[in-house]
Amino acid sequence: MSIQVQNISKSYNKIKAIDAISFEVNDGELFGLIGPDGAGKTTIFRILTTLLLANEGSASVAGFDIVKDYKAIRNSVGYMPGKFSLYQDLSVEENLKFFAAIFGTTIEENYDLIKDIYIQIEPYKTRRARALSGGMKQKLALCCALIHKPKVLFLDEPTTGVDPVSRKEFWEMLKRLQQKGITILVSTPYMDEAALCDRIALIQKGSILKIDEPRNIIKDYQKIIYDVKAKNRHQLILDLKKYPSQYSVFAFGEYIHYIDKNEDFNAADLDNYLKKQLHTEIEIRISNPTIEDVFMDL
C-alpha cells in the first residue's frame, strides 16, 4: 500500500477544511482526487507531503508515518504544488540541477526516468523558467519532482491553466511514469481527466463522496440523462427548471443535461411543454453519463 489515509481531519480557525477522510492508494496506482475548488484537495496534499499537521487521524506514505517519519517521506516523494513554484529567474537547467543537488543526486543519475519529458524542454534549457509557456513550465516542474526517483508522486492540479493539447500530453506522461512503478496521486477539477485515472475519489466540502474506478462510478449511475438543446439557451434552462417533474438541470457543453424524477418519463411530453413555451429548434436525446454528471448528482 503506497498511501494509507485514516480519518484525517484538518481545520483552519474552526473552519473544517477536510473532515475524516480515509482512502488507500495501491502501489503503482494512478489515483485521482476529483473535486471543485475549495473541496480540500490541496490540504490533503499538504498533509501527506508533511507540510501540514493534521488535527486528527493518521496516514502513511510509502510505508512511512507522516508524523514520525516525516524526514523519510521527504526523501521518497516528489511533490508538484498547484502553483508553479520553481525559480523563475533561474534557467531550466539550473532549476533541475538545483533540485537534483538538494536531493543529493545528479541529473545524469536518474536521467532515464525524466528523459522522455526532459528532451521536450531540453532545446530551451538555457531559458529562464519565467519565459517558458504554461505547458513547458509544467514539464519542468514534473522533471524537478522526479529528479530524485521518488516512490510516490504528488501532483496538485498539474493541468490547471494548461492548454488542452499539453494537458493530453501531460496525462500520457503520467501513464508512462506509472508503468515505471511510480505511484501517483493527482488532483484535478476537470472531470474529463478523471476517466484517465485508475481509481478516483470524488470529494466535496472536505468529505469523500465516493471512491471507485471511473467506469464503475459511471456504470453505477442509475438515472437517465437527456441532452436538451433549443435556440434560446438561457430561457431553456429557466423553463426546464419550471417543469414539474424535473430532478436536475445544468448546462453541459452545448447541451443542457436534464434528469427527470419519474422513471416513466416521456421525452415527447417535455418536447410539447417546451413548444408551448415557444422554444424553437428543440432537440432531446438520451446522453451517456459522465463523471461530471455523477458528481453533480452527489
Binding site: L51, V77, Y79, D89, F99, A101, F103, G104
Partner: protein, 374 residues
C-alpha cells in the same frame, strides 16, 4: 556542506540577475555615502544676522564689525526699529536680531556694564543653541577688548586687566571636521540597512512566490537552507563595508588609525546579528511588503537611538538604557573608536562581547522560529 554551496550559488545567481535590485545594492550606498556625508552636517553656517543700532557710537560699530568679520554670519540688514526687525523674523528672512541700546558706549564706560538684547529664531532648538554660543563668543571677545581699552582710557596709570583665555584642544578630530565624525557613522547605517532589508525580504520572497513549499518537501535541513540563504548577504555586507571604507579614505580622507582587520572582524560578527533579525522578520511575515515595513520600523528606531545623529549621553536615562539593546549603537561606537582613536581589541572588548551574545541569542530564536511546515 555541498548542499549549502548549491544554495549559495543559486542565491548569488538570483541576486545578480535581479536587475531592479542590483543598482540598489551597489549604487545606492555610494550615492548615499557621498551625499549624506556632505549634507548631514551639524555645523551652523550662513546665519541670517540683523541688528538695530540705537547708539551709533564707536563701540557699537566695532561690535557690529566683529559680526561682519565672522564667517558664520551673513549680515542681512540693519533695521531702524525692533518692530521692523520682529516683522522680518516672522517672515523668516532673519534668524538673529541684535539690539544695541541707546547710550551703549556711555554706559559701558560710566557704569562699567550694559545690556544687549539678542533674539534668536529657535524653531530648530539645536541650531539656536549653537548660534547662541557663537554670538556669546563674539560678544565676550568684544567685551574683553573694550575693557582693556577702557582701562587705558580711564586710568592714568596703566593697569593690566586679567583675562583668562582658553585654548581648547580637540582630541581625535582636532580640526573638528564634521565628516570625520559622520562618515564612519553613515557607513554603519548603510551596512546595517542594506543587509537588514535584503535578508528580511529574502526568505519571505520564496514564501510569497511559492518556492518555499517545494523546498520544504525536500530533505534539505533547516540550518543548510538558512546558512545558504543568508551567507550571500553576509558577504554583501562586507563588500559594502569595503567600498565604504575606500570612499571614506580616498574621498573624505577620514583617518583610519586603528587596525582595519579589527573593523572587519567586528563587522563580520555584527552582520550575524543583523541577519538574525532579518531572518526573524522573514519568518513572521507572509509578504515582502510586510517584511519591508517591519524592517523599516526597527531600523528607524535603531538608527535614531544609535548615537549616530544625537549623542547617547544627552538622552534621558531610560532611553540610554534602551540603547543598550541596540546593536547599531555598538557598531557606531566601535567603528568611531577604531577609526578615529585607534582603539585596540581590549578597548572594544565589552561591546564586542555584547554583540557576540546578541548574535547567538537572535540566531537561536531565528532558527527556532523557522518552520519547515506551512
Amino acid at each position: 556542506m555541498k548542499t549549502i554551496l548549491f544554495i549559495v550559488q543559486k542565491e548569488f545567481r538570483q541576486i545578480f540577475r535581479n536587475k531592479g535590485m542590483l543598482p540598489i545594492i551597489f549604487v545606492l550606498p555610494l550615492v548615499q555615502l557621498l551625499v549624506l556625508s556632505n549634507a548631514a552636517s551639524f555645523e551652523i553656517k550662513n546665519i541670517k544676522f540683523s541688528y538695530i543700532d540705537n547708539d551709533h557710537s564707536v563701540a557699537s560699530r566695532e561690535l557690529i564689525s566683529k559680526f561682519q568679520a565672522s564667517s558664520y554670519f551673513n549680515i542681512i540688514e540693519r533695521f531702524p526699529s525692533k518692530k521692523e526687525a520682529d516683522f522680518q523674523m516672522q517672515t523668516g528672512t532673519v534668524d538673529v536680531i541684535l539690539e544695541i541700546p541707546n547710550h551703549f558706549e556711555r554706559d559701558l564706560i560710566k557704569e562699567n556694564g550694559t545690556n544687549l538684547s539678542v533674539s534668536i529664531n529657535a524653531i530648530d532648538g539645536a541650531a539656536a543653541g549653537v548660534e547662541n554660543v557663537y554670538i556669546s563668543q563674539i560678544i565676550t571677545g568684544f567685551n574683553q577688548k573694550i575693557q582693556t581699552q577702557l582701562y587705558q582710557y580711564n586710568e592714568a596709570s596703566y593697569m593690566r586687566p586679567v583675562n583668562i583665555v582658553t585654548i581648547p584642544s580637540f582630541w581625535y578630530n582636532n580640526t573638528l571636521n564634521y565628516k570625520t565624525f559622520m562618515v564612519p557613522g553613515i557607513l554603519v547605517l548603510l551596512v546595517t540597512m542594506l543587509t537588514l532589508f535584503l535578508s528580511s525580504m529574502n526568505i519571505v520572497r520564496e514564501k510569497e512566490i511559492g518556492t518555499l513549499e517545494q523546498i520544504n518537501v525536500t530533505p534539505i535541513k533547516k540550518y543548510q537552507f538558512i546558512v545558504g540563504k543568508l551567507f550571500p548577504f553576509w558577504v554583501l555586507g562586507l563588500v559594502i563595508l569595503t567600498v565604504g571604507l575606500t570612499i571614506a579614505k580616498l574621498i573624505f580622507n577620514v583617518p583610519i588609525l586603528g587596525n582595519i582587520g579589527l573593523i572587519y572582524f567586528f563587522t563580520s560578527v555584527y552582520l550575524l546579528v543583523i541577519l538574525g533579525i532579518g531572518l526573524i522578520i522573514s519568518n513572521h511575515s507572509d509578504t515582502q511588503q510586510q517584511a519591508m515595513f517591519i524592517a523599516w520600523f526597527f531600523s528607524v528606531i535603531f538608527i535614531l537611538m544609535s548615537g549616530l545623529f544625537t549623542p547617547i549621553e544627552s538622552m534621558p536615562v531610560w532611553a540610554q538604557n534602551v540603547t543598550l539593546l541596540n546593536p547599531i549603537r555598538y557598531f557606531v561606537e566601535i567603528i568611531r573608536m577604531v577609526m578615529l582613536k585607534g582603539a585596540t581589541f581590549s578597548d572594544i572588548s565589552r561591546p564586542f562581547y555584547m554583540i557576540v551574545c546578541y548574535a547567538f541569542a537572535l540566531n537561536g530564536i531565528a532558527v527556532w522560529s523557522y518552520k519547515k511546515t506551512i
